[in-house]
């Protein structure tokens, strides 16, 4: 028997889910709005996308963001993979210590991580630029890469690698021919997630970017401080599309691992 309150909360839940989509849909719709005033509908146009394609400053920022995301996602995935393999060889006690350190950046407010890196770069007299951005983004993305790869690596049957060794593979061959292919999906998922996190990052970038390495979110943020333009809505729409593609690429299974922890399927 269903109580009336169940119906009420179910509708509230549906309302909340709709609430999550209204702003996104509005950005998409208004990106096709033929008016300089972003929020008043005045007919359909695609001209803002044209403007976007000609905005060299935004394109420069896009290039910086893509470079940083590419590098930091690759580094994070690599470090995560090596760490997962190394941790499997540790005693449980040390494994717990190491994973504590690895996941520490998840509980520390990102702004403090950014400030902290700025102190280090400052005392090393390191100029801020691409390198500092990539290192900053590595700090932010590594825990997520580790989360996915550790989960996938932990789910592997250790007997597989042992079997490969027994059949005459050396450690490298066992890794190359057995472990790596089995982890391919998880590695791809980790890389894509890290890429997205880096690409959208604004807090860490605020403290680690230098002259000439303004990332896309930083550029958009400074534009938004002046005011929202239809062009930014167009850019937002492209970013929403990009999110869809990434989620498709990562797959729901890996998403669940990151967001819900563990790999149980709902009963």
């Amino acid at each position: 028997m269903k109580s009336a309150l169940d119906t009420v909360t179910a509708w509230l839940a549906r309302g909340v889910i709709a609430f999550l989509y209204v702003p996104i849909v509005v950005v998409v719709v208004l990106s096709f709005n033929d008016s300089d005033i972003t929020y008043k509908w005045a007919g359909f146009t695609t001209r803002w996308y044209g403007e976007l394609a000609r905005d060299t400053e935004l394109l420069d920022a896009l290039r910086v963001s893509a470079e940083v995301a590419l590098l930091s996602a690759t580094l994070a995935t690599g470090c995560g993979l090596l760490a997962a393999m190394g941790m499997a060889r540790l005693r449980p006690r040390w494994r717990a210590v190491f994973s504590g350190g690895l996941f520490l950046p998840l509980v520390i407010p990102e702004i403090v991580l950014g400030v902290a890196l700025l102190s280090v770069f400052g005392s090393l007299h390191a100029g801020l630029g691409l390198t500092t951005l990539v290192l900053g983004h590595l700090v932010v993305t590594l825990p997520y890469a580790a989360l996915i790869i550790l989960g996938a690596h932990g789910a592997l049957d250790p007997a597989l690698e042992e079997a490969a060794t027994d059949l005459g593979c050396n450690t490298w061959q066992a890794f190359r021919r057995v472990t790596l292919p089995l982890l391919r999906q998880a590695l791809l998922a980790a890389w894509l997630l890290c890429f997205t996190i880096s690409f959208g990052n604004i807090v860490m970038s605020t403290f680690t970017n230098g002259v000439g390495t303004t990332t896309l979110p930083l550029r958009v943020y400074s534009l938004l401080k002046v005011g929202l333009t239809p062009e930014i809505n167009a850019l937002g729409t492209l970013l929403v599309l990009f999110t869809f593609l990434i989620i498709l690429g990562v797959g729901l299974r890996q998403m669940r691992r990151v967001l819900l922890g563990g790999d149980r399927t709902p009963q």
């Binding site: 028997m1 109580s3 309150l5 909360t9 509230l12 839940a13 909340v16 889910i17 999550l20 989509y21 702003p23 996104i24 950005v27 972003t38 929020y39 008043k40 690599g78 470090c79 995560g80 090596l82 760490a83 540790l90 190491f98 350190g101 690895l102 950046p105 520390i108 407010p109 702004i111 403090v112 902290a116 700025l118 102190s119 280090v120 400052g122 590595l138 700090v139 997205t196 690409f199 959208g200 604004i202 807090v203 605020t206 958009v220 943020y221 938004l224 401080k225 929202l228 809505n233 937002g236 970013l239 999110t243 869809f244 990434i246 989620i247 729901l252 669940r256 819900l260 709902p266 009963q267």
Partner: protein, 292 residues
């Protein structure tokens, strides 16, 4: 578990393990742990004229933070963060309960529906509200049509807009842990409680909420602490008037170029984080003891 290695291979094995752990280990040590120590050190230093530090040991930076202007920022941040966490928890529970009471196939679809906004670019999700809340914008047109407002309403920038932006940014984060803790629950449990005469309210407060509590704690932690460090939303939606700790830190570093005071504010934020971790940790432990 793997068998212990033969004694002779010990050194080589140890070397390989160290080599595998080195990149991640060095990243954490060199780019997280050491930097955090430097922030603590900087927070006791005197500022130089060029936005750096002169070293030394002084409590002046912390004393300056005791200025009513800054105390107000901390108080406001804690209030906003608590309110945001509370609203996210409440709505997160409602959504998570809705999810687990659907058929498995639908659950997956609904979960995907929550995942998409979660991964959508943070700035997009924030400036979306500028579209929505602008005078004469979509929400305003709606309220005009229903007769709630008459003509253009000045909703943005405001504290309210800033708060809506915060809830919108953190709500998906709150749904996941609550859902994770509820989804293992046998639906028969709620039905049994109902058959035994529990009303709707008691089914939730006596049966489901206690089960969801670890998830609720995690959700509270994942919304409360990050809210303190947010700086984009108060600037874009709140007009920069009512600042969060995040805004304070950014301002001290980038505008005032006062690194030691910025470091002191960061240390205070870290302490707030540790205190909330301790509080939530104690609550979780007490919970486990009670259920054990």
């Amino acid at each position: 578990m793997t068998a212990p290695p033969p004694a002779g291979a010990g050194a080589r094995r140890g070397f390989l393990t160290a080599a595998l752990l080195a990149p991640a280990g060095l990243t954490v040590a060199g780019l997280v742990l050491v930097p955090l120590l430097l922030v603590v050190r900087d927070s006791f230093a005197t500022p130089d004229l060029y936005g750096g530090t002169k070293g030394g040991f002084t409590l002046a930076n912390y004393r300056s933070l005791f200025d009513p202007v800054y105390l107000k920022v901390f108080g406001y941040s804690l209030g906003m963060a608590a309110l945001n966490a509370a609203v996210c928890l409440l709505l997160g529970y409602v959504v998570a309960y809705y999810l687990v009471s659907r058929a498995p196939q639908r659950q997956m679809l609904l979960l995907l529906l929550i995942i998409v906004p979660f991964w959508t670019d943070f700035l997009v999700r924030t400036f979306a509200w500028i579209n929505l809340l602008s005078p004469g914008g979509p929400v305003n047109s709606l309220t005009d049509a229903v007769g709630l407002t008459h003509g253009p309403a000045q909703w943005i920038p405001s504290q309210g807009a800033s708060f809506v932006g915060l809830v919108y940014a953190f709500l998906p984060t709150a749904v996941f842990p609550v859902y994770a803790s509820l989804r293992g629950v046998d639906p028969a449990l709620g039905e049994a409680a109902r058959d035994l005469g529990c009303g709707w309210w008691r089914v939730h407060t006596k049966v489901l909420l206690p089960i969801a509590r670890p998830g609720l704690l995690a959700a509270a932690l994942l919304t409360f602490i990050p809210t303190l460090g947010v700086f984009v939303i108060p600037v874009l939606l709140g007009g920069g008037k009512n600042q969060l700790v995040g805004n304070l830190i950014v301002t001290l570093y980038t505008e005032f170029r006062n690194q030691p005071m910025g470091a002191a504010a960061s240390v205070v934020l870290l302490v707030l984080m540790l205190v909330s971790l301790a509080v939530f940790g104690t609550a979780a432990r007490r919970l486990r003891r009670k259920t054990a």
